[in-house]
Amino acid sequence: MLIINLIGLGLIVLIIWWFWVYKPQSTQVSDEQGDNSEITVVVKDGVYQPARISLPENKAFKIKFIRKDASPCAASVLFPDLEISADLPINAEFTLQLPALKKGEYAFHCQMKMYSGTVVVK
């Protein structure tokens, strides 16, 4: 019984670490291309891939979304801090222009928040 309880507690710690403490690596967008920097994000199976994108400061850039998931939730992507929202066509590319941003983290997600990602500006 003690062992089972310990396993349970271990699981809880693992959940906390995995979902909250651990910071996944972000995909860096190089700024060599200047204002034409672009990254492709695939919307599929409940996640944005990549979901954590890091960008240089004060550079406008583009995210090309490719949505391969028919669920209606995946159909829109919102950047609440930037007042940006876009409808993503299914199985097609959609290019979203982001303005030049200041340092900080900008979350993006679908309507239900089932899909979520972050733009990290460094």
């Binding site: 809880i12 199976d45 979901a51 209606p72 309507q111």
Partner: protein, 754 residues
């Protein structure tokens, strides 16, 4: 360079629309420039349509650059229109719905009989070898169904797990997975478990997967309806336009209309793009855009807007805004953006749902541990059931949908009534407005003053003569009242004469010479300054002022000749609209730069008791601040640039934008028609939307949060009850459906009739 095969080439034809190609000689130039690009096989221009078809494997950006380099504008013709996007979306939704329904039926085909069997007391236990064999078969069947009907949950759960995120898929996958794995352990190693715990839960797994697919399917259907308003707006746009090119009228797709094209609109047709009438006159029904039912007469020089309906005459007009620049396209764009933005009330739900899933996983573990430690026998079965049920019932999708769905419908509903709401925040604040400041000129009144009375004091002058003199002297002035006098003269075909020695005396009026006579035109102060006897005319002027008219004195050679009264008529429905605002308990205040007498007279007519008169433009925002200091949530309504600071400072700025010159980006809320009824409509819609959001959040909360303790078994110690995972699955599936359907109820909402 790679050689392309013929097949690849045929697949690589694209069309560009060329702007600025005015002559046939441009054709050769453009074709040559395009053919010179590496990879372009052929380029053929259709001059009449201003399109060029290019074959070759070259990115459209490269082609567009090349055309721009030789001095023309080009755009890709393959950019899909909103119309096509909506159609595509509907087709995709339909397919998705069908596949979800299929997955549902397959899962229920197994789940239903099993559940009925258990409901009628069929033993779900593993005792005999025969039972073991049967349940093993059912277990394998169940796995097949999990693969066929629930694959998307498991893949999604796995992907998001790797991504360090958890979502609805995670909970479903964990819940159904736990139930299945436990049941398989029972079947494969029955002896490892106490006899009482040898219970299988395959029916729960199958039913939950089936029900959630059903819930998703119904949600897809219901969601389609929430975007009806935007579909209607998009439907307003014409699909083709008849343009005059090379002296011929040809029908072309709306995307191909270029700036400055001359376009023909016949009676009964929709105006395809924004423009200015160049020939003919007609009346145009703008109700679809503004909600204003009366058709508007349009003649040469008048602006017309895409999406409106031509009623009577055939006209030619010059395209001034095309494609994404037309007012209707901008409105659609703005409504879409607003629909996807969230009011502050939704942020809480966002924060909750961001942490929700991992928290639920923890609760589920804790509840299993509690059952294991303190529960009655069979502890293991109870632990599994409670853990599964917690996972399933707590899915936060309804919570996530609660706000966006209502905002979507509410903003769309407002747009249908001619009210453009910029974002979710404006929507929420509008519902709380307690005081409304109305600018007088152009908001309560038409904003176009007219001459209403001419009282001749010296009988040797005729009214026409007086108007001629007044208009001649005022033709040099830029004052709006002066403009009214000049307009009246023009209306009566009076020819103006040249004045000399024109002199404007600030705060008084003007002074000039005409045909050797000295003219004075202005207020009482001007007359007193020049010691002109007014006799009984002061009272007559007073009487005019009480009727909200502005009297002006005209003296010729230092003798009073006439009083001319000018007034800015009150909009026909201002009184009713203001009554509506007051009826819902809003404190209505009038604000104007006009003199106190006129302001009070107007206020009295429309039923406003609080008036700020003689307010300088720069002080308007101070009045907003004053009311805010009194604890009011202030809405400010204005029409002009001079109102901008006050509009910005107010909690909600309402701009009166009429037709084409909609101040789309500047205000929180734009009323597309001139009527103040838009204010009450906007407030009513936002109140209804907020109420709807609260209902949704409450509903979602009940399902998700309040459901958890029941799922964990809080009722067991008292009533011996433990929630069935299947019930949890059904509750979860229908929670988001409830939210979407409740949001759809908003579609039926009607702002009060007027």
């Amino acid at each position: 360079m790679n050689k392309l095969t013929g097949d690849q080439l045929r697949n690589n034809t694209q069309d560009l629309i060329i702007e600025g190609a005015g002559c046939a000689s441009c054709v050769g130039k453009i074709e040559t420039a395009l053919k010179n690009i590496n990879g372009v096989e052929s380029a053929e221009m259709n001059f009449a349509l201003r399109t060029v078809s290019i074959s070759g494997n070259v990115a459209s950006e490269v082609l567009i650059k090349a055309v721009e380099n030789i001095g023309y504008n080009a755009k890709s013709a393959s950019d899909r229109s909103d119309d096509e996007l909506i159609d595509e979306k509907e087709v995709a939704d339909e397919k998705y719905y069908a596949s979800l329904m299929k997955q549902m039926w397959v899962a229920l085909a197994l789940g239903m009989p099993l559940m009925i069997y258990s409901l009628f007391g069929g033993p779900m236990t593993v005792e005999t070898p025969l039972e073991r064999g049967v349940w093993l078969f059912v277990g394998v069947l169940c796995a097949a169904i999990m693969y066929f009907s629930g694959k998307h949950f498991y893949i999604g759960a796995w992907k998001s797990l790797l991504n360090h995120t958890a979502n609805m898929d995670t909970l479903i996958a964990l819940g159904t997975g736990t139930a299945w794995i436990y049941s398989m352990i029972v079947v494969l190693f029955p002896l490892a478990l106490p006899e009482m715990a040898r219970h299988v839960y395959f029916e729960a797994t199958a039913m939950i997967i089936g029900l959630i697919n059903l819930g998703l399917a119904l949600e897809v259907k219901a969601r389609g309806k929430t975007s009806e308003a935007i579909k209607r707006l998009i439907g307003l746009q014409a699909k083709t336009a008849r343009v005059v090119r090379d002296k011929k009228e040809i029908d072309i797709a709306i995307e191909q209309v270029l700036l400055n094209d001359i376009v023909r609109v016949r009676p009964g047709e929709k105006v395809p793009v924004d423009g200015v009438v160049t020939q003919g006159n007609t009346s145009i029904d703008e109700s679809m855009l503004t909600g204003e039912p009366m058709p508007v007469v349009k003649a040469e020089g008048d602006k017309i807007v895409a999406g409106t309906l031509n009623k009577s005459g055939s006209i030619l007009f010059k395209a001034t805004r095309v494609g994404k620049d037309t007012a209707i396209a901008q409105i659609i764009n703005m409504v879409k953006r607003a629909q996807n933005s969230k009011p502050p009330i939704g942020r809480l739900a966002d924060i909750i749902s961001a942490y929700f899933v991992p928290v639920v996983m923890i609760i589920s573990i804790v509840s299993a541990l509690v059952w294991l430690n303190f529960g009655p026998d069979p502890v293991l079965a109870f632990a599994v059931v409670s853990a599964t049920t917690v996972l399933i019932i707590a899915c936060p999708c309804a919570l996530g949908l609660a706000t966006p769905m209502s905002v979507m419908v509410g903003v769309g509903k407002a747009a249908e009534a001619g009210v453009l709401i910029r974002n979710g925040e404006a929507l929420q604040t509008a519902s709380k407005v307690t005081a409304m400041i109305l600018d007088k000129t152009g908001t309560i009144t038409e904003g176009a003053p007219k001459v209403t009375d001419i009282i001749v004091a010296d009988e040797s002058y005729s009214e026409d003569f007086i108007l001629t003199v007044a208009a001649s002297i005022e033709s040099g002035s830029e004052h709006p009242l002066a403009q009214a006098i000049v307009d009246s003269a023009i209306e009566q075909n009076i020819e103006l004469e040249n004045t000399t020695d024109f002199q404007a005396i600030a705060g008084h009026g003007v002074k000039a010479m005409l045909n050797g006579q000295q003219l004075l035109f202005g207020n009482q102060k001007l007359m007193l300054k020049h010691s002109i006897a007014l006799n009984g005319y002061v009272n007559k002027a007073q009487a005019l002022a009480y009727k909200a008219k502005t009297p002006m004195y005209l003296a010729i050679d230092n003798k009073l000749a006439a009083i001319i009264a000018v007034s800015d008529p009150i909009k026909s429905d201002s009184i009713a609209a203001i009554k509506r605002l007051q009826a819902i308990g809003i404190r209505v205040v009038m604000l104007t730069g006009d003199n106190r007498a006129t302001a009070n007279a107007v206020a009295k007519q429309v039923g406003i008791t609080e008036v700020f008169a003689e307010v300088l433009p720069e002080d308007k925002s101070n009045k907003v601040a004053d009311l805010q200091a009194q604890g009011e949530i202030v809405g400010m309504t204005g029409d002009g640039i001079n109102d901008a600071p006050a509009l910005a400072l107010a909690n909600v700025g309402f701009a009166i934008g009429t037709g084409t010159d909609v101040a789309i980006e500047s205000a929180d809320i734009t009323l597309m028609r001139g009527s103040l009824h838009g204010l009450s409509d906007a407030i009513a819609v936002s109140k209804a939307t907020l109420r709807n959001i609260k209902q949704n959040l409450f509903g979602a909360f009940i399902y998700n949060v309040a459901g958890i303790p029941f799922a964990a078994g809080i009722l067991y110690p008292f009533f011996g009850l433990l929630l069935n995972p299947v019930v949890a699955g059904a509750a979860m599936a229908f929670s988001s459906l409830t939210v979407v359907s409740n949001a759809n109820r908003l579609r039926l909402f009607k702002p009060q009739d007027h």
